[in-house]
């Protein structure tokens, strides 16, 4: 409760901090925020060429199959990779003034969310151009985005605080994210995994989030709501745990940095 009161009091700082992170990302580049479009488009182009033509993946309309999952994955990937440096990058103000430190991971995830929402224009445009369009299942989309936001925030809390003590994490996480990418059905369908391994794969929360995106946008069907609500509960628990870890660690930030 005290946290929410403080966050409300410092809301202006939260806003400036999100704005700074969002704008600062492309500040020195010519194309600016346009990179939010160009980057995923180019990445998409690479995968859309490599998989159907070189690797011979037999999926109908593979580019669309990819668009709806790759952009949400990028949101997750960017958040996690940046989370390891959020606290360290702000060491200047942490050592000088008091403010609720939670603002830093929150603004990391939120600025990436804004970035994601902008990139969503690509998804919508692609859905219309390809003729798939948007079905009524779209109403479930905000729940999935919320779910992903909570999950990312929980991870961001944990990684940002622990990296202050163990700086290696920063390098380890970038490799881990590559592995995580291939263990998540972004480029393929979960049904391509042999049934005996499926149970292990299902332990990965991103499997369900990414599958839900594909169900809603590509197949235009209702995602498995039982799984989604179970995940929502699990992620909230993880967020509480993440906040607890962050809270334990933050007391010594000023001394360790």
């Amino acid at each position: 409760m005290k946290l929410f009161k403080e966050l409300y009091q410092y809301r202006e700082f939260l806003k400036t901090s999100i704005r700074k992170e969002f704008r600062g990302k492309y500040k020195k580049s010519f194309l600016g925020v346009l990179w939010s479009f160009i980057n995923p488009l180019l990445q998409l182009l690479v995968y859309a060429l490599v998989f159907p033509f070189i690797m011979r993946v037999q999926v109908e309309n593979y580019t669309m199959f990819l668009v709806v999952t790759l952009i949400p994955w990028n949101f997750f990937n960017a958040t996690v990779c940046q989370s390891t440096s959020t606290i360290i990058a702000s060491s200047g103000i942490i050592k000088k003034v008091y403010f609720p430190r939670e603002i830093l991971p929150i603004s990391n995830v939120t600025s990436n969310l804004l970035n994601f929402l902008i990139s969503c224009i690509i998804i919508v445009a692609a859905l219309f151009i390809s003729g798939i369009g948007i079905g009524p299942s779209i109403i479930y989309l905000p729940i999935i985005v919320l779910l992903q936001y909570i999950f990312s925030l929980a991870i961001s809390f944990i990684l940002s605080s622990i990296t202050v003590y163990i700086r290696d994490l920063e390098y380890f996480v970038s490799v881990l994210m590559m592995l995580w990418f291939y263990l998540t059905p972004v480029l393929y369908e979960i049904t391509m995994i042999p049934a005996k391994f499926r149970a292990i794969f299902n332990l990965n929360p991103m499997v369900h989030i990414i599958t839900a995106y594909r169900d809603i946008l590509y197949y235009q069907k209702t995602p498995d709501m039982l799984v989604i609500f179970g995940m929502l509960g699990g992620c909230i628990l993880l967020l509480v745990l993440g906040y607890f870890i962050f809270n334990k660690c933050e007391k010594k930030f000023a001394e360790e940095l």
Partner: protein
Amino acid sequence: MILRKSKNKDDVVIKVSHVSKHFNVYYDKANTLKERMIFFNRNKKEVRNVLQDINLEIKKGETVALIGVNGSGKSTLLKLLTKIIYPNSGTIEIKGKLTSLLELGAGFHPDFSGRENIYFNASIFGLNKTQIDKRIDDIIAFSELGEYIDNPIRTYSSGMYMRLAFAVAINVDADILLIDEVLAVGDQHFQEKCLNKMKELKSEGKTMVFVSHSMDAVKFLCDRSVWLYNGKIREDGNTDKVIKEYLKECA
């Protein structure tokens, strides 16, 4: 609630009880996991006690000076009060909104204008947009920057930078102000202006904790002084008396 508080002048707003703080000083700190594993024997550390069993009560409206030689723990005590660092033992209770002028210009961004930086800096102190809008004219007037306020602050001289930072911090409208030897920069005129502003805040009933090596400023501003010596409170009481003792020791 607030009414009751202001009526009762003797309310304790800062209560420090049995606070101790030590820092671990590593000779050659192993920061990464690899270094930690390879050089496990290199992790020699020395525990330095900076503050030992500090007890301090400051009442609403009091202006208290912390004096002492370098390394006696004054700044550490102020950092503990702002919650930048936390004590190893003991408790600190603060009532009311607290602002610190420990290091001026936190969050200043060199590429943005003075005006924009006022918003950044004041938001770190917990002000929202309407509150800053209301104060911005006072802040600019106090900083005496005039037309320079819309120039990027990387073009400022160090004195201008300091004036802007001080102007923001002093206008935050906190109940408790912590001030750490920040007047060292700035010319005679601005120093006097700051001291007068602080005197004005004092007469408005703000609580202040003031760290300074300038005994004149301390005498001008504070009724009560606390002398820290090697992490302990050596003397606490009337400013004239404490300063006399302190100077005797220093001489």
